[in-house]
Symmetry: C2
Subunit: 398 residues, 2 copies
């Protein structure tokens, strides 16, 4: 039969990254295109121990249906952690445990956006979230990034001229893909602009705990006097992405709608994973674990930046130093003889996979002269091999 | 700030069942209102053993990001199982692992329905699915149930007169809440009508393995020569609902859209749960496990029907005998002096919780003279106590 699809998904396609992953699956190709946490960062033994305890001591709780809002002890523990450590959450807010932070993008968009409504995004931004917004037929309006966050003039221009803007989507810490951290001044300014034009903010913070240098910058949500900010947190980078645990801290009326949507979406998040996260957070030294993670990523990031300085920078490719996260954003020189997408294609032919920058734009057909490198997934050997090949290629073709 | 919600979720409210659950949480109330599998039906020890093996032998696979389609060995194992045992799935189909079968309702509706499109449902039907359809602003058209399935004349009338019908939603085995099993003749007729009017079918089969008497009836999906049927399967009732594992077997082009939607919804289903389900299905005697489950539910169902015969039937309340599933549908006599909703309210005041039938209608404001009893969650003692109270109440007020 001939299938009729909804307007929402008519033009939706698998992300460009998935196409690249096909090459990355080839074992002879060095993949610098993933976004997976480093396997050595998983507290695998602790999780096995906790899991064993849970399944022997309280198997029914782990196996039976649970409530949509999330496992109550985990909700409390995360709530306390976020209030004490980051001043995130007020009496007007509540917390919802989700099946990964990705689900927050979905639930919030579903709750507030009609088809054709506008979402303001950083340009470039995280593909997974952009596709989630697109899947409700939202119109994406990208604001170019500067080294300290969105260009505020262009943001205000968009807020002034676009109709039916529902929210601003921002990854303020070590943004994916640009690696940029939005300055405190810009965070305040963005919050004020959102107030002035009466739109909400969706603050996505998957990498916040992975700072390798510099000082923490307060979350936008910690400035939220108006109940304007939905905060999206995640255990994917600090515990395990395969467990799919995220949490939303959001104004109660908004969270209520998101909860009803989640009920119809997956009823509740996997109970076992919620119980493991709860015990890890409360029975183990979580701060010591984070310290260990930061040490792992500091080493990997610094090693990667050394390699870039050694092999790519001499060819004219530039990049912004990062203070955390999993990604580095590299830019071809202005006088490059070939386009970024040609460069990425040649890289794959030379058995190295990076993600072309246009994949992260609100309009993928726009031009970009950047590409994204991930340093958390490859081993040091793979990283060195891959960047060496990129350097040699750049020397030949740029 | 004043929140603006999407048209989709504007009128969406938590299901009536959730309101009832508030009473059910009172430990002095006997709850016959849930839909949880019997805790003794969980293979808790086997799951603990499998989990331990997985987390010691292949922790990274369990903790790392995985692919949206699902854990490949589980996809293959479920595919083989469904083809061999139920003749479900053709070369034109493929399989997607989901976060519970609930997610299939969400992903399929998102993929094929624009706002205002019509979904034809059995009346009564499962609230969770109805709410999922409602959350995309679909219009629900309910077809009254007879003892062997939907009234075919009214189904054809709806197919003829309604505009923009996207699919027929059907729970063919031991339907929730009515307990009704659609006959093979009606399954064939429904499939033919769907072909005649060119609409799809969403066949939801959470209870199919829980037959306690009679013979299996072939799935509608096993008749699917046109690629018209999306089959929704679930591990919630045969393994564990807290693990949130479902699977869709559907025509490839439809599944492709659902996969892209799932990518933006939760990236992939919890990896640990998929790996546990895979090993349970392939390393244990799954058929022996199902046999044990059916024994548990046969006993509980028969005990419940005996109690109904003893305490409720003499008061004029009637019910249809069931051949499987978790629910029994009771009907007040036509000459009852009070309405069903008054009866359910009085029941709660007498410390017994059942679900009023109108909660399962496509329009909750419609009248219903039925209520739903669940026998899988309460203990035998609770069941007896609860039904006794209902009988006494019915004797007094009907």
């Amino acid at each position: 039969m001939e299938y009729i699809f909804s307007d929402k998904v008519q033009t939706l396609k698998p992300s460009a990254i998935r196409e690249i992953f096909k090459y990355a699956a080839d074992p002879t190709v060095v993949s610098l295109s993933a976004g997976n946490p480093a396997p050595e960062a998983f507290p695998a033994k602790e999780i096995a121990d906790i899991s064993d305890k849970i399944l022997r001591e309280e198997p029914i709780a782990a196996l039976q249906y649970s409530v949509t809002e999330g496992y109550p002890p985990l909700r409390s523990a995360v709530w306390d952690y976020m209030r004490k450590k980051y001043d995130v959450g007020t009496d007007a807010d509540d917390i919802l445990i989700t099946s990964g932070a990705q689900q927050i993008m979905e639930l919030f968009t579903k709750s507030v956006c009609n088809e054709g409504d506008v979402v303001i995004c950083e340009a470039p931004s995280f593909i997974g979230s952009l596709n989630s917004f697109r899947s409700f037929n939202c119109r994406l309006c990208g604001i170019p990034m500067e080294s300290d966050g969105m260009n505020l003039e262009l943001l205000e221009k968009a807020l002034k001229t676009e109709k039916n803007i529902r929210f601003i989507y921002i990854i303020a810490n070590f943004q994916n893909p640009s690696g940029i951290t939005t300055s405190f001044e810009k965070r305040k300014a963005i919050y004020e602009l959102a107030g002035k034009y009466n739109v909400m903010i969706l603050e996505d913070n998957p990498y916040g705990e992975l700072r390798i240098s510099g000082e923490d910058v307060p979350c936008i949500k910690s400035l939220d006097k108006d109940g304007r900010v939905v905060y999206a947190g995640s255990f994917s980078k600090v515990l395990s992405p395969g467990m799919r645990i995220g949490f939303a801290i959001a104004p109660k009326p908004v969270l209520q709608k998101m909860i009803v949507c989640k009920q119809g979406e997956d009823v509740h998040t996997n109970s076992w994973a919620q119980m493991v996260a709860y015990r890890f957070l409360t029975e183990y030294d979580f701060e010591a674990h984070l310290k260990k993670l930061r040490e792992i990523y500091r080493k990997k990031a610094n090693f990667c930046m050394e390699l870039l300085d050694k092999y790519l920078v001499p060819t004219g490719i530039t990049y912004e130093k990062i203070q955390g996260g999993l990604f580095i954003w590299c830019k071809l020189p202005e006088n490059a003889k070939i386009s970024m997408s040609e460069f990425c294609t040649k890289a794959v032919q030379n058995k190295v996979c990076v993600v072309p920058g246009n994949a992260f734009l609100t309009d993928e057909s726009e031009q970009s002269s950047s590409f994204r490198i991930n340093f958390s997934t490859p081993t040091d050997e793979q990283l060195e091999k891959g960047i060496k090949i990129l350097g040699k290629l750049a020397g030949e073709v740029l």
